[in-house]
């Protein structure tokens, strides 16, 4: 075997396309030829370099925009099938370009001659007002923390205001609320709701009209939970034991998201919710199929808190569904609980408990829930 043939076949060998007999011959040559040995090593290292390239991701609005275009009835772009561009289209391009250039030129001229643009002053005023409001909010927040409010819209960075009262005994063993706790709770609730949704789906299939609404409600909740989990996966705070699980979840999230945009009917359940719930058995055991990255500590607390802040701002409905907000005052005299989690927001330190722990029949939390009345909802 000569070196040229060997190298060509090594390239195929790298892709696993060489029959085993031929592969043995090629690798024997590699062992006996220093130059081909180097080539083989370099070939593999070059492939490793390519695999380490950063992955591009589509933007968060990609799918939403796509579905909007589909719903709007937009057709296939012409260039998909390489159709020749008609003369009129070319002329239209030229005219559009000329028109755009004219508009641009007119805009530039207008800007250069208009010395009194209100937008600059307006922006300054708006910024000043914003900072004043922010300052007032921060100042007021330290003294008045609304009780019974859902999880805060923004979780503040540690080191801000701290509650003036010592924490009750119940919260002595509380852990910091971290993204991995959010991930675990979201996965647990997803698993529970997935089961419920499938039961309701069976009822709907049996012709129980009342079940259709229930299925769609569950689908809505599942969609939100799935999006949170996928967000955390994208932030590298969560991974799936198997890549297929992530793909299944993405598919389910897409289908369930679609169901929210359709008419609330059995047809929608059949077209979107049923495929989402039936396409993968794995999603029924999601809580066991995720790995969470341990929570940040030390200097990275700020990054962690920023992540939670972003999550609670972008998906304000979801976090209150994951956690009960525990009343600070009502917790005095209750024995310590390790299920409780603490966070800091603009109003000081707050405490929450994962809803799935309460739903599991934990007597102490059930009792506590009664004590705090409507606080946990």
């Amino acid at each position: 075997m000569n070196c040229t043939t060997c190298r060509f076949e090594l390239s195929q060998c790298l892709d696993g396309r060489l029959p085993s007999g031929r592969r043995t011959l090629v690798l024997e040559h590699v062992d006996s030829c220093a130059a081909c040995g180097r080539f083989w090593g370099d070939l593999q290292r070059a492939q490793q370099l390519v695999l380490r390239l950063p992955k591009q991701r589509v933007g968060p609005a990609f799918q939403e925009q796509l579905w909007e275009r589909i719903r709007a009835g937009e057709g296939t772009p012409e260039a998909v099938f390489h159709e020749p561009v008609p003369l009129w289209t070319k002329a239209r391009y030229a005219l559009s370009g000329a028109a755009a250039a004219a508009v641009l030129l007119a805009g530039v001229l207008w800007l250069r001659h208009d010395e009194r643009r209100p937008s600059g002053d307006g922006a300054v005023v708006a910024a000043a007002e914003g900072s004043a409001e922010g300052g007032a909010a921060a100042g007021g927040g330290a003294t008045a923390r609304p009780t019974g409010s859902p999880l805060p819209q923004g979780v503040a960075v540690a080191g801000g205001q701290v509650a003036s009262l010592p924490p009750p005994a119940m919260f002595a063993a509380a852990q910091r609320l971290t993204a991995d706790a959010v991930a675990v709770e979201a996965a647990r609730q997803f698993e529970q709701r997935y089961d419920t949704a499938r039961q309701r789906l069976r009822q709907a299939d049996l012709g129980q009209d009342a079940a259709v609404g229930g299925v769609l409600d569950e689908a809505n909740e599942l969609h939100q939970l799935a999006e949170v989990l996928l967000d955390l996966r994208d932030c590298d705070r969560l991974s799936f034991r198997d890549a297929e699980v992530g793909a299944d979840l993405r598919v389910a999230a897409n289908l369930l998201g679609q169901s929210r945009l359709q008419k609330r009917s059995l047809d929608t359940v059949r077209a979107f919710v049923a495929p989402a719930l039936q396409q993968s058995e794995r999603l029924g055991h999601l809580a066991r199929l995720i790995r969470v990255r341990p929570s940040f500590d030390g200097a990275e607390v700020r990054a962690e808190q920023e992540l939670l802040r972003r999550l609670s701002t972008q998906r304000p409905d979801v976090l209150p569904k994951l956690f009960y907000v525990l009343s600070h005052d009502a917790a005095f005299g209750v024995p310590p609980r390790s299920d409780a989690l603490w966070f800091e927001d603009d109003c000081g330190t707050g405490f929450v408990a994962p809803r799935s722990r309460v739903a599991e029949g934990n007597v102490q939390f059930q009792w506590f829930r009664v004590q705090i009345g409507g606080t946990g909802r």
Binding site: R7, F8, S11, V50, P54, F62, E74, G75, V251, P275
Partner: protein, 186 residues
Amino acid sequence: MAKSAPEYQPDPVTMVAYHRALAEHADSLKAYAARLLGDSMAAEDVAQDAFLALYRHLNQVPTAAFRPWLFRVARNLCLDQLRRRKFKLSLFRDLQRDDEQPFTPVDTAADRPDQIAESREASLAIEQAIADLPAKFREAFLLCEVEGLSYEDAAAVMGCPVKTVSTRLFRARQRFQSLVSRLIKV
């Protein structure tokens, strides 16, 4: 600008396959288009157009062929854009790279500034080496080596025999190796 779309309601099984394709191939389709166009935003539009086209042709495309079909469509769209943009391309590509790289570190394990800078530099060098490949070789390299398509799928995308794909890929790898030899030897 666009063909009129006939009303078509895909069946649930096909919809699941479509959603799966959306979940699995949108990112790689964008990456492929971005490397052909040198423009990340335009690449995202191309990926979206490709998925829109697929939706409109779900009744004609077998689910097993979604991936090569999408890449083929993305390729056509990119070629169309390149024909229109021509020499403006290189300028925008360079600007785009400068803008994007700092936000996508190559190795997240490398947390020291010098390591991050090093890996960014390496990433840029690799991207540049890919961009410097002759167009036909680059295409085979992007589809097979970067995006992991099979030779058969790449042949369907490029519209050439499978044998041609393997030859072009081999040539591309040879050139790529010499272009990144500094990084390989490190």
